[in-house]
Symmetry: C2
Subunit: 223 residues, 2 copies
């Protein structure tokens, strides 16, 4: 069977990276079920992607699989991990130990995906020095030092909106280039940095709004 | 001061609804700080929206505020709640009591925003009948009955990918029109239904991928 290899210097779009995450999750489920090989149409069905799209995405990484037996589940999963950089554990840090921050600290899914929440920070002096879900909470004064010591590459933001931009700017100056923002505020990041936004309440409020529209009005409010 | 009123039959776009959530969250923060009035430029700065956009959004709801004193913080917050439908508590239900499902059950932010997670479901028979973070976990067999009894309008999905589409289809047949999906799978919903996707791991993997790109390569992979 031909190996799955990444073509050198292949340009991977961010949409492809998002779909790679879907594929990898489906491959892990298959691996848990002790399934060794999977055909493209089955993997496409498991992820909700069209088979043509799946084949286009995988073609980016060169030769892959054989038509009669399908893709090697564990090999493809490992290749995707290597591409997205989760083949080794990466340290995250969390800013803000409120309701959402604590729920995120208790979420074991980060570890399963190769991310370790190594530290938490909070602007409230009463929280500094305490331990939440096994993680030491530091004062915001220690942000730069802890980020540097723990080699934090991604900062998860769950603070109050007020201190958000300041936390981003300081972390970016300390070398963090990637931010996962759960705070309901539109922010900016310096050049060369990236921020992804997740606003659970806004999604719920949007659904709440939609759930009150009459069915025949719904098409009018669709984007 | 002129009151904030919704124009009758005004068409509100979903982008506007998302920004209304941002405004409301900022207004609540201001209200906690005992601030009674806020000018448009200040509210725009707090949310990261441009002042022009903010004024356009609020113009949808008719007359609002007075130039010298600004907007009435509590009144505007209440108006937005009424528009998005969170002025009365709405019952949610959760499908899937794994790592993410439990973190969501422990998240107190839902209640603060006017949503009550009234029940949980899991396909694992060992979990049915148990209580997680104060919520009874039901068997998937009881989905339709519990949804109907508790008048669940929005279903939060955190199950394994396999049973996902079936859960959506059954809930939709039982009258649920809105879904908040945390499961890494592209799904479809019947006509007149809405689904919003939140994939925390995919966002992290995307950031992980980006954190490994050299700064000068980053513009090449931007969408």
């Amino acid at each position: 069977m031909a190996s799955i290899g990444t073509k050198r210097d292949a340009k991977i779009s961010l949409n492809t990276v998002e779909r790679l995450s879907l594929y990898r999750r489906a491959l892990e489920e298959l691996s848990h079920e002790k399934i060794q090989y999977v055909h493209s149409h089955r993997l496409a069905a498991l992820t909700g992607v069209t088979p043509a799209q799946l084949r286009r995405d995988l073609a980016t990484f060169g030769s892959f699989g054989n038509i009669s037996r399908g893709y090697d589940v564990r090999q493809m999963s490992a290749t995707i991990s290597r591409i997205v950089g989760t083949d080794e554990v990466q340290n995250l840090a969390l800013v803000g130990v409120g309701h959402l921050g604590r729920a995120l600290l208790s979420y074991k899914g980060f570890e399963e995906r190769g991310f370790h929440v190594a530290a938490a920070f909070d602007a409230d002096p009463d929280k500094a020095g305490r331990v939440f879900a096994g993680r030491r909470c530091y004062s915001m004064d220690d942000l730069e030092e802890v980020i540097s010591t723990l080699n934090v590459r991604i900062l998860v933001l769950a603070s109050h909106p007020q201190g958000l931009q300041d936390a981003i700017d300081r972390a970016a100056a300390a070398g963090v280039r990637c931010f996962l923002n759960f705070v309901p505020k539109i922010t900016s990041v310096p050049d060369g940095c990236f921020i992804e936004q997740i606003d659970i309440s806004a999604k719920l409020e949007k659904l709440s709004f939609l759930s009150r529209q009459k069915v025949d009005q719904v098409s009018a409010v669709r984007r």
